[in-house]
Symmetry: C2
């Protein structure tokens, strides 16, 4: 069993803070820890007999009080694998969504779990991997309770001077943000709500968080993705971010329209490296910036031999974790 949440960190985003420093005390790889997690009593979570998550013992103590909804299978039963199964009495997307929502609302009303104080009234899709059809949708603040795969978009808004110098618009998160207040962020970013397309979500975030015009939004370019698995007080967070580059005219200035970003500044690539190493970025935004710096050839492998380690860690194999 799990003794404390602190011995349960899979992949902290710490390494991005030590970038350009030594290779000492790098954290171990994700998948080894996934095995350890199972040994420590985390329970695979199944919907329609497909694994979609991992429930930590300290959250299971709450869910096990709803045995009509969450059923513990201790040993393989026919095709059913050991773990927690959402009851098959709830047969489709709508019924599953409704019953899980009911349980979460009850736990929230009792103030049983801290994460639910951050209730967002926004749902995430639940599926074994990104390519498949969703099996249900779950309130965003609860996804860590089930270790669900989460998705989001991050947009690198950058300018290129006549001489070719790149600068990037970096946001500072509002001091009142629930998570990582007052830390540096990409120009725009946000979670992918249930039912929304990836590009559609990127456009929405650019409009809400930086007031980018429709004309400029047509320049949004998908350029890759990152995946990582971390843990915090909200639970287990296996997360992937779709990354977009957006080249902006030099006279553009982002204006936040939803109150999530406190201010913006236009930084050189060298300033961004300094901010990453100083730990001033929200960790996953540091990873997105690092990916930008790599793709745009601002860091090389001869002068920073740890880079390959970071690139691998930024692409944890989450899409195959629950297969």
């Amino acid at each position: 069993m799990l003794s404390s949440s602190s011995d349960f960190v899979y992949l902290t985003l710490e390494p991005f803070y030590t970038l350009l420093k030594s290779s000492k005390s790098l954290p171990p790889a994700l998948m080894t820890k996934y095995h350890e997690a199972l040994e420590k009593g985390c329970l695979p979570f199944f919907v329609n007999n497909r694994q979609v998550g991992l429930i930590r013992p300290d959250f299971w103590v709450h869910f096990k009080n709803y045995p009509d909804v969450f059923q513990l299978v201790e040993k393989p039963q026919g095709s059913k694998k050991p773990g927690v199964h959402l009851s098959e009495d709830y047969k489709d997307y709508k019924e599953r969504t409704a019953v899980v929502s009911k349980v979460l609302e009850e736990l929230r009303a009792k103030d049983a779990i801290g994460s639910l104080r951050g209730w967002r009234d926004e749902n995430y899709s639940v599926k074994p991997n990104f390519a498949e059809q969703p099996l249900l949708e779950v309130e965003r603040s609860a996804s860590g309770l089930f270790g669900l795969l989460e998705y989001g978009v991050h947009i690198n808004g950058f300018t290129r001077s006549a001489k070719g110098e790149l600068k990037m618009w970096i946001g500072r998160r509002s001091k009142t943000k629930q998570t990582f207040p007052d830390m540096l962020d990409n120009m725009c970013a946000g979670g992918l709500p249930a039912g929304m397309g990836v590009l559609e979500c990127a456009r929405k975030e650019c409009q809400e968080e930086a007031n980018v015009s429709d004309q400029l939004l047509d320049r949004l370019k998908p350029v890759g993705c990152i995946s990582y698995f971390y843990e915090d007080e909200r639970g287990l967070q296996p997360e992937s971010q779709f990354i977009f580059d957006l080249e902006l005219p030099e006279d553009f200035t982002p204006v936040n329209t939803d109150g999530e970003m406190g201010s913006f500044q236009l930084l050189t690539m060298s300033e961004i490296q300094t901010e990453i190493v100083s730990g001033n970025f929200k960790p996953n935004c540091a990873a997105v910036c690092l990916d930008f710096l790599i793709r745009h050839s601002f860091i090389d492998f001869d002068t920073d031999p740890n880079l390959m380690y970071f690139v691998e860690q930024m692409h944890a194999p989450l899409q195959s974790m629950y297969r």
Copy 2:
């Protein structure tokens, strides 16, 4: 114990052939298979008490005949972990290199192991991860026998028309190449020899394989890396490739000067996608092309939801595998 090599594939590069197709029958993730490999009798290989490889049982039957060089530790002995340890009688880089070379020369003379028929007279550095100092160097054709981490460079040579259309120079490997004869390849690629820098190696390959001038070589841009682990008749191959983009003038034509590439053709991005899906590329070159297509926004996540899976699989966590 291992029944046959065919049940021992970690990550085939097969998924790149099924790109843009369904999510069916995707291979499992690397690290799970690493655990299975240990269960099946593969032995961690240590030098100076640091793991640098993994020895398959069918290769160990040869190495165990040299007990003064390769020592099997069955249970933890003090700080020594179970596995095969290169004898500490060989104290430094030079002594270790010499003794392993002597064993390999003997096995080659006896024709004991098929891989050694591909003797290259080129050494690879042996280290627990890319950032550390090498502990010895080993003949290239033997690296699969020890499951050593291997590194190489791949160069995307591309042109951009006045209208902005990208095309990429694709090589067809010589029909007499030891490995993957007559398959499609990147413009230039090659293994990283012991003691050579990454950029230095990329320049050398561009000169030898495509006759790129010094002036054009100054445009070489490091843009990332990929990592994967596969197995073939040569053994266990955990491999990482440093990727470079090289924008070329439209009147440039690559000319092979070392006989490794049979011919070159300039393909559109759409033609390259077709060749990837048709399985005409050497698998890791398909991955390098896929990485190029993603970074340059020719594929997106809405129309190809499997893409995230492929991106993760192209970045297997090899740098932390032997830590």
